[in-house]
Symmetry: C2
Subunit: 401 residues, 2 copies
């Protein structure tokens, strides 16, 4: 994928972003905890949300808004997830939309809301309100906005890529936050994607779901699904192209670009997993179905035993095959091949002699790739994760409540 | 459950056990790595096996033998799992049965085989053969047999309990091994249950499956399912009772006792999880179905974030509810109550003020219990696990290949 230098959610035309510090989270240099992303014109909107039955108030709000297929701005805060907060939580989310709408001169029904941070604590609405009205979106504000999304991410995660269609050119931009711990909390994934291309709303939703399945749904930090996971896509049509419609070559090109942007962000999230020292890529090939390929790749990437082995640079094919074997994917141990980098560890179910020093070297960088070929069919999928370290345990065992 | 002091698999009448050291695993004082368990008469047999598609050779062998509903002895070895060993592995398993049969004067089709240890390494058959013929089962040999099952278990796991039926008395005994790591391996659970009661074979299989679902299938160390997991039950009828039949009060009593024995062993396995400092009990109540109750309890017990929080003595109800929320169980966050010990952390979805010092104290022993009441129905289930510690990562990251 060709990316735009320093690209982000305001790289597409007609999007502005800004942020403020409202003391919802602890102060620090240049700290931000309330952000606004706004389009100069109404957008088609798509959304994908946590499957957890314990969902935060802003997730309920966004699901209602996305159903209308139209939105124009996103207000985000970090430091408080507004989860486990009951009816008051929902009212606070609605109030955030009202304040943002008045501040931006929009209708509250066109405002999406996302929150991340502590669970079970009422939103400090006076601070939040002050934060919203102090944020002034500009074409240069994406960096500040992304800071306002972050919890314990160690680096900001943004990207933008040009999209060359037969019918015109446009840009897709994106930002994400990943696994962060806030008192007494769990990881939350938030990601916002923007594009200046005009896209038919139903296609937009299908495309986002497909991109989520290929990207965010293929990463795993620790197997825990958050109450707040939210992926939103705004398409404002500022590029002037004729609306992209389902089944056309341009729809295919848009899907490919959207997948690439989402995978780029998802890999950044995986790399920044709590305590992680390595990005792990697991590719499953030769599966009978796409679902099988995804299940096998993701189950391996999520295995605690496998993740610990990668941390220890142990080319432990037994753990890889055992994880694939319990993934639900059709698998014949007598046919499977397993590789680390280009080094074959197992072929047709038989352990292969290999150069242990070379295998260890292939696991010594900050990116390690594994491949399992099931040799049963034509489907393939890639999952991303990170290694399991003592630091993960330390971060998450820390007494916080 | 009333237990028999120092009870084990030879507490029921007519069972003998013995073991030998054959240098399959590293030597140590009193080391054993090949064991024999034999009944003085043929037994009805039941078995429950790993669901992993990557299954070790002895698992295939036992599945065939259990289908015949009859067996008389078990040969077990530690130090080599005979997994990922192809056709030769299956022939080696069959050969183990032949050698044990000749040594014991039985038919090879009446011999069950179980192995645990390294994956992908051919069985050292000369050593194994020598070990089998050196083992001489006696009424006192259960302790040696259990040593021969162990890999890195830090303590042996055995129990026996009397069973008082309307039609007679008998004993159920059991032994288990849990999560141990052997070069380049994963955890394996082996458990053997014996009883001198006569039980109709189909009932025996149903009862064992039900006990496995309530006990071994409700424990979790790290979410990885082994290639070798094997649970076998031998019933030799030496107690002289009329055969227990399905649907009778005695069948019910037998089931209760079998569940209790299996739960006792399963909890010992959970307590001895790699790196663990605490046994965690998670009880889900008020579920709409038994499946929901089990899914909720087990998903919470298996959550890495929750396990790390318990290690840190953090009464983190957010992680508990979030794990239950992604378990697939029907759940309404506005109705759920969460407790640690007797301390209510959340009621009807609302965080409760609680004494943090008391909650921390409730998590300071080597057993910690949590309860989540979904308040949606009448079903309940209990799961057991252990905390996640830096030591778990160290054990499993160690370079071993």
């Amino acid at each position: 994928m060709q990316t735009i230098p320093d690209g982000s959610i305001t790289s597409p035309q007609g999007f502005m972003a800004g942020a403020a510090y409202a003391a919802i989270k602890t102060a620090g240099e240049g700290q931000r905890d309330v952000g606004l992303l706004v389009s100069e014109r109404p957008c088609a909107v798509a959304g994908v949300f946590t499957q957890n039955k314990f969902r935060a108030a802003p997730v309920h709000w966004c699901q209602e808004r996305v159903a209308s297929r139209r939105a124009q701005a996103i207000v985000v805060n970090s430091g408080n997830a507004n989860a486990g907060t009951g009816d008051q939580g929902y009212q606070d989310t609605a109030q955030m939309a009202v304040v943002a709408a008045e501040h931006l001169g929009l209708d509250r029904h066109d405002i999406l809301v996302a929150s991340t941070g502590v669970i079970g604590v009422p939103m400090p609405m006076e601070k939040v309100r002050q934060g919203i009205v102090s944020a002034h979106p500009t074409r240069d504000g994406a960096g500040q906005f992304v800071r306002a999304m972050m919890t314990t991410d160690t680096f900001p995660k943004t990207v933008a890529a040009p999209v060359m269609l037969r019918s015109g050119h446009g840009v897709i931009g994106g930002a994400a936050k990943g696994a962060g711990m806030i008192h007494p909390n769990m990881a939350t994934l938030l990601s916002f994607i923007t594009t200046d291309l005009a896209v038919e709303p139903h296609l937009l939703q299908h495309a986002l779901k497909e991109a989520a399945d290929a990207a965010f749904n293929m990463i795993t930090i620790d197997g825990d699904t958050s109450t707040n996971d939210t992926l939103l896509l705004l398409a404002n049509g500022a590029a002037g192209n004729p609306e992209i419609r389902e089944g056309t070559p341009d729809a295919h090109t848009f899907q490919e670009s959207l997948n690439a942007v989402c995978i780029h962000l998802a890999k950044m999230v995986a790399r920044d997993g709590e305590g992680a020292t390595k990005l792990i890529e697991v590719r499953a090939e030769g599966a009978q179905t796409l679902a099988d390929a995804r299940a096998a790749a993701r189950t391996v990437a999520a295995s605690s035993l496998f993740k610990a082995a990668v941390y220890g640079r142990d080319p432990n094919w037994g753990r890889i095959l055992a994880a694939a074997g319990r993934s639900g994917a059709e698998l014949d141990p007598a046919k499977a091949d397993v590789f680390v980098g280009d080094i074959c560890l197992m072929r047709s179910g038989q352990p292969q002699p290999f150069d242990h020093a070379a295998a260890r070297a292939a696991m010594s960088g900050d990116e390690v790739s594994f491949r399992i070929d099931l040799n049963l069919g034509q489907f393939q999928a890639t999952a991303w994760g990170c290694d399991l370290t003592e630091e993960y345990v330390r971060i998450n065992a820390e007494y916080t409540t």
